[in-house]
């Protein structure tokens, strides 16, 4: 069931620090492995369809009928055109400028959002290795700003294994205050004896971090259940017949190939009842 998926470039641009400019590509470093379920109509088990509708005009909408608006007051919108949004994002899109170098331990993990592997782009190999080795030897990581998919992020660039990785980070105003959580005590007296016991327990459970020890048990149980249902014949199939007449689709597909200029001419030896051509 597992398939090796090829790495997909998420972003292309350059990292700069001082006068050094490194052309790079970013690749997603992590993936969520949720089991995807589809919603079906309970009666006939057809995957349901979502339709975009305008309740005022009472009709379905196509994507070109839809614009984005910011609700600045209840029910009041300013319309943000697509090119306006893109224009804002575009200016800095292509570069990640490292402005500060800090210690990784100075950053609380709460700031980290997503991880991207950084790969050198054309002619970037040498400055890439330069930045990697310099950071490795100084033990520092770079702080920068980057715009990915029209959102600006704070980012940490650091050495990871044999390459570099970029972690997008939340801006300070995106991290909430723990002070807003109710019932956290200020300072409460605990006895030394209690503390000693608790510390002993921690001592006993202390181990080296080994991520391979931990598995998503709920997902595995769900997969096992799914597999047992498949082999147990308890399969929900949308009727064997596809929704639309496949014969019509075949006609349409053929027509699209016949008219396409790229379609190679029908080879004679491919014709059904033709005699052997090869000897």
């Amino acid at each position: 069931m597992e398939r090796v998926s090829e790495m997909h470039t998420m972003w292309k641009g350059a990292i700069s620090f001082g006068l050094v400019n490194i052309p790079v590509k970013l690749y997603a470093a992590t993936e969520d492995k949720d089991i995807k379920m589809r919603y079906l109509h309970k009666e006939c088990h057809t995957p349901i369809q979502y339709e975009k509708r305008c309740p005022t005009c009472d009709r379905p909408l196509e994507s070109e009928d839809i614009v984005r608006g910011y609700e600045y007051e209840d029910g009041k919108f300013v319309i943000m055109e697509k090119d306006e949004i893109e224009a804002l994002a575009h200016e800095k899109n292509k570069s990640v400028e490292i402005v500060d170098f800090v210690e990784l331990s100075d950053i609380d993990p709460i700031y980290f959002n997503r991880s991207y592997f950084i790969g050198p782009n054309e002619q970037g190999t040498k400055p890439y290795m330069l930045l990697k080795q310099a950071m490795e030897e100084s033990g520092r990581i770079g702080l920068a700003k980057i715009t990915i998919r029209s959102k600006e992020h704070l980012a940490a660039v650091r050495v990871y294994d044999k390459g570099l990785i970029l972690e997008t980070m939340y801006f300070p105003d995106e991290v909430r205050e723990i002070g807003n959580v109710p019932d956290i005590p200020e300072e409460l007296e605990v006895s030394d004896k209690e503390k000693k016991l608790a510390k002993q327990l921690i001592e006993q459970l202390t181990t080296k971090f080994d991520p391979s020890q931990y598995k998503d048990e709920r997902r595995e149980a769900m997969m096992a259940l799914i597999e047992s249902k498949i082999s147990g014949n308890e399969i929900k199939v949308v009727e064997e017949k596809p929704k639309k007449n496949v014969a019509d689709l075949m006609d349409a597909l053929q027509a699209s190939l016949d008219t396409s200029p790229k379609a190679p001419p029908k080879k004679k030896k491919a014709a059904p009842r033709k005699k052997k051509v090869a000897k």
Binding site: R3, N233, K244, V246, A247, S256, L257, S260, P264, K276
Partner: protein
């Protein structure tokens, strides 16, 4: 033990018990003769493919076993690669073919992708009728698939499976498509055939629900699955060959039993000759784009 040696180029291959009967009336020496004669046509289809063989050390009436892993005692000229969880043999030359032949490896099965890639370099429709008597169903399905492929400007190649069915190979450009993509195509073709002939064909995976219809298997085209290689012999009583045939031979007179090793060696043409040429001109990307478009619009 009766031992002989064959020299190919600079390589000596030890042949043991050449007189041993592998099939009724066919000795190991006969089989090695077949492999030698057919090698130039067969080897291109084993090229870069991690091999699974079925060995019949005591002939087709004895016990048989699958072998995916290269045995420890293999001589130095046997090329191996790490593939998934094992060390697989790559059979790209005559010495390797003969060494395997001497091991009584009769059936040669290969995956759809070369070892370097997880991307299939061909699609194969396996038309396996419920019984030998129902071979006409495989003929019927092959005819219909042929008409369909012609409509889509796709070149397919036909072979007998060497058992009771037919197989249609569609070469694809190397390293271009994924199994998820080929499945969109195979699923479409399979559903089309079933819709046109619901009484003859089915995509039903449960045997008891097939009711004598021919199962059009598009699920087997996946990573890790294998198919009998063109020109491989089968470990059945008759020693039939998974032989490529011309589309013009696809008639109601075609029998799954007619091609023994001897008959195959007497054939002049190689019907798979333009396989590599077809690989690069298939308009598969266009078809795929179109099908994906239909899928997006929920018409598939």
């Amino acid at each position: 033990m009766d031992k002989h040696s064959i020299t190919v180029g600079e390589i000596d291959i030890t042949i043991t018990n050449p007189e041993k009967l592998l099939w009724m009336g066919i000795t190991k020496a006969d089989y090695l003769h077949y492999l030698t004669k057919i090698s130039s046509q067969m080897l291109p289809f084993l090229h870069d493919k991690p091999l699974t063989v079925i060995r019949y050390p005591d002939g087709v009436n004895g016990e048989a076993f699958y072998q995916k892993n290269c045995p420890e005692y293999a001589p130095h000229f046997i090329q191996t690669v790490q593939y998934h969880d094992h060390r697989a043999i790559i059979c790209s030359n005559l010495p390797t073919l003969l060494w395997l032949g001497n091991q009584a490896a009769l059936e040669f099965h290969v995956p759809f992708a070369p070892y370097q890639s997880e991307q299939p370099s061909e699609i194969v429709f396996d038309l396996d009728p419920p019984s030998q008597e129902a071979f006409y169903l495989a003929v019927e399905a092959a005819k219909q698939i042929k008409i369909t492929l012609d409509r889509l400007h796709i070149t397919g190649f036909l072979k007998l499976s060497g058992n009771k069915g037919l197989q249609i190979h569609i070469p694809l450009p190397q390293n271009t498509f994924t199994y998820d993509q080929t499945k969109i195509f195979t699923s479409f073709i399979a559903h089309y055939l079933v819709e046109m002939n619901p009484e003859k064909f089915t995509v039903e995976r449960l045997k008891k629900k097939r009711h004598g219809r021919l199962y059009i298997d598009y699920v087997q085209h996946a990573s890790g699955k294998t198919i009998i290689a063109p020109y491989s012999v089968r470990g059945n009583q008759n020693g039939l060959v998974a032989v490529p045939i011309e589309w013009s031979e696809l008639t109601d007179e075609l029998s799954p039993l007619q091609f023994s090793m001897e008959k195959v060696l007497n054939r002049k043409a190689n019907p798979f000759e333009s396989y590599e040429e077809a690989r690069i001109v298939q308009p598969f990307q266009q078809i795929l784009n179109w099908l994906i478009g239909q899928e997006k619009n929920n018409r598939l």
